[in-house]
Amino acid sequence: MSNTRQADASSRWRAPVVLFLIVILFVLEGTTRNALFSGSWNSALAILNMGLISAVMALGVNMQWGYAGLFNAGIVGFLALGALGPALVATAPVPGAWAAGGPRILAALIVGLGTLALAVQAWRRVPRLRGLAVTLVLVLGFFAYRWLFDPAVAAIEANNAASAGNIGGLGWPVLLSWPVGALFAAAAAWGVGKVALGLRSDYLAIATLGIGEIIVAVMRNEEWLSRGVKNMSGIPRPVPYELDLQADPGFVAWAASWGTDPATASGIWVKLLYAGLFGAVLLALILLAELALKSPWGRMMRAIRDNETAASAMGKNVTGRHLQIFVIGSAVIGLGGAMMVTLDGLLSPGSFNPLRYTFLIWVMVIVGGSGNNWGAVLGAVLIWFLWIKAEVWGPAFMHLVTVALPEGALRSHLIDGAPHMRFIAMGVVLLLVLRFAPRGLVPEK
């Protein structure tokens, strides 16, 4: 007994210690200039902001994996759907796009969804020849859908193809688009969950991985939606532009009173505003998540994660709960996606690749400590910091190593290869963390 309590006591200190460590790293990055740190608050805050967004995504993944044991390897897909939120809600409308084919596309989408619903009904209701019935419904629906869809798409994409060619946004405030992004992701998660949640562990992982790839493929190739691989830039900001601040005499004076030049000050100020926004969202999410986890609901989720057969025999609706947490977790990931494109000011579906957006988030969750919200969040910020700094640390390390080498082919070969130290550095750090904290930095109790 006493031992157990001791373990609890030590783990109570884990989170603050890790937090402290992270703060130190960021302060060093902000203040110290040497081979390892850049000594720029702008750089430190830029890393922090993306770290906070990663933390939101990690929180979403942690809900699915840590609470319920659902292995979602399609993070990139849900994130991409969330990213669609700002693109469709907050950007300015494209003149002529809606008139060119908007209603027709809506009709097509409704027909498409209707077809799927009908097919499901046919599968459930038709007693004999149901395979045939379902196929018939699907084929007919598909043709109706394409008949509606194709001309509309062609018309929209032809509308000012060079700089638009997409359906455009609604021009609403960008903050409003965040929940919309979360909703997109949630809706997709509901559909995915209905289909795939019967699968176990790695099978679910690969199914969701596939779904993620499919979503991204659609985003890349459906130009009418968000310009596909041509990217969508100029997504509005919830914070002022640096140039406007620099042009504002009041701000310049204020910056001068702090002893900084306006460019640096405006960068820092904007980043601080972002950090405040993201931090607030993150804290609200953590609060809700912690309350839920510590309640009977959380206990039920843990029971389901431990043993589904028994949980279901004890009256817990395993499928229902799985769907619930999958949808909620995906919505959080989607929210993170919406926040990310808002921060980037850019939607670039060509860059949504699973290594960066799925596996890196997973690394964050596991390194942080799955099942523990604080663990996931701290792990996210830390790993993101390392991911960025490995770009500098890897080559720096390589230079250190090669200093001793004689001038020659080997040395120049190694120096040429220095950028690849980025991955080696990341790998080494990951392995070290896992070695010394195999259950994560802040493990679940």
């Binding site: 309350l291 309640s295 609901w297 206990r299 431990d306 057969t309 949980a311 025999a313 004890m314 009256g315």
Partner: protein, 288 residues
């Protein structure tokens, strides 16, 4: 009352349950015995919704419950234990019990955020109840241990304990006795009888311990090769030639046990189980 009509469950070509028809009367403690592989657990699993039947129907109090999911059956008052213990291994023993009751306020997400006070009260009551159950099963000293770390027998007890957390209509026990200390099993038997008498639970019990069956169960159903071989009172079953050949065997020790059991069953009525208090108290020394 549970009625099973001509139930089949096949695995590939193998007929694990091959046309069994069984009735479990409300208020009874029905025993289910039979050789290893007779299809008893499979029958349980079909009734409890874990396996889908190949054909046949299960009716509970006039309602067709074939193919309902386990959690739906739970809310209809049908509980079961598993032959191979299914604990929630990374949760504490107490939590294992506290999670059982259905319709807890705090199991809804919105309530978990908003109705903190009410949840706290419910939790207090649940905790008390769980501690009582643990006390009864003589495992209160491991209440805060992770269930995965329990000994084989303790897991079986926990399995049973979960069924005691709620008011069930009918409880299916799949070999609760295997691996459980015989003295404690006696106590458990008493508890089953008490729940049956006082709270009107119906039980259906699979067991290979003939003492236990003989002491508790009436009627006893014997399965073999997926079919019902015999049915009747414990004493009649134990003297049934076919049952002896297929199941009980003629081994001396079991004969002795069976005869003892028959004596006891015929000699005493169900209700008058002696020494309930004494036996429960016998473990005081072991606790803590």
């Amino acid at each position: 009352m549970i009625q099973v009509h001509d139930l089949h469950r096949h695995f590939g070509g193998f007929r694990a349950v091959d046309g069994a028809s069984v009735t479990i009367e409300t208020g009874s403690i029905t025993g289910l015995i039979g050789p290893n592989g007779a299809g008893k657990s499979t029958l349980f699993n079909v009734i409890a919704g874990v396996l889908k039947p190949t054909s046949g129907r299960v009716v509970m109090d006039g309602e067709d419950i074939t193919g309902l999911a386990p959690h739906q059956l739970f809310h209809k008052g049908l509980l079961r234990t598993f032959q191979l213990a299914h604990e929630f291994s990374s949760m504490t023993v107490r939590e294992n019990l506290m999670m059982v009751p259905g319709a807890q306020t705090g199991e809804t997400l919105v309530n978990a955020w908003l109705k903190r006070g009410r949840i706290r009260e419910e939790e207090r009551a649940l905790r008390k109840k769980a501690d009582e159950v643990l006390e009864f099963l003589t495992i209160s000293h491991v209440a805060d241990e992770k269930a995965g770390n329990l000994s084989g027998g303790q897991k079986k007890l926990l399995e049973l304990g979960r069924t005691m957390m709620v008011d069930a209509k009918i409880v299916f026990l799949d070999e609760v006795g295997a691996g459980v200390n015989r003295t404690l099993l006696g106590t458990i038997g008493d508890a089953i009888v008490r729940l049956n008498k006082e709270r009107g639970y119906t039980f259906c019990v699979i067991e290979h311990d003939m003492d236990f069956i003989g002491r508790l169960c009436d009627p006893v159903i014997v399965m073999a090769a997926g079919k019902v071989l015999a049915q009747g009172s414990a004493s009649s079953i134990m003297q049934n030639e076919a049952v002896i050949e297929a199941y009980l065997g003629t081994g001396l020790k079991n004969k002795v046990a069976a005869e003892e059991a028959v004596e006891r069953v015929t000699g005493e009525s169900h209700g008058a189980q002696p020494g309930l208090g004494d036996e429960a108290g016998a473990f005081d020394g072991e606790k803590g």
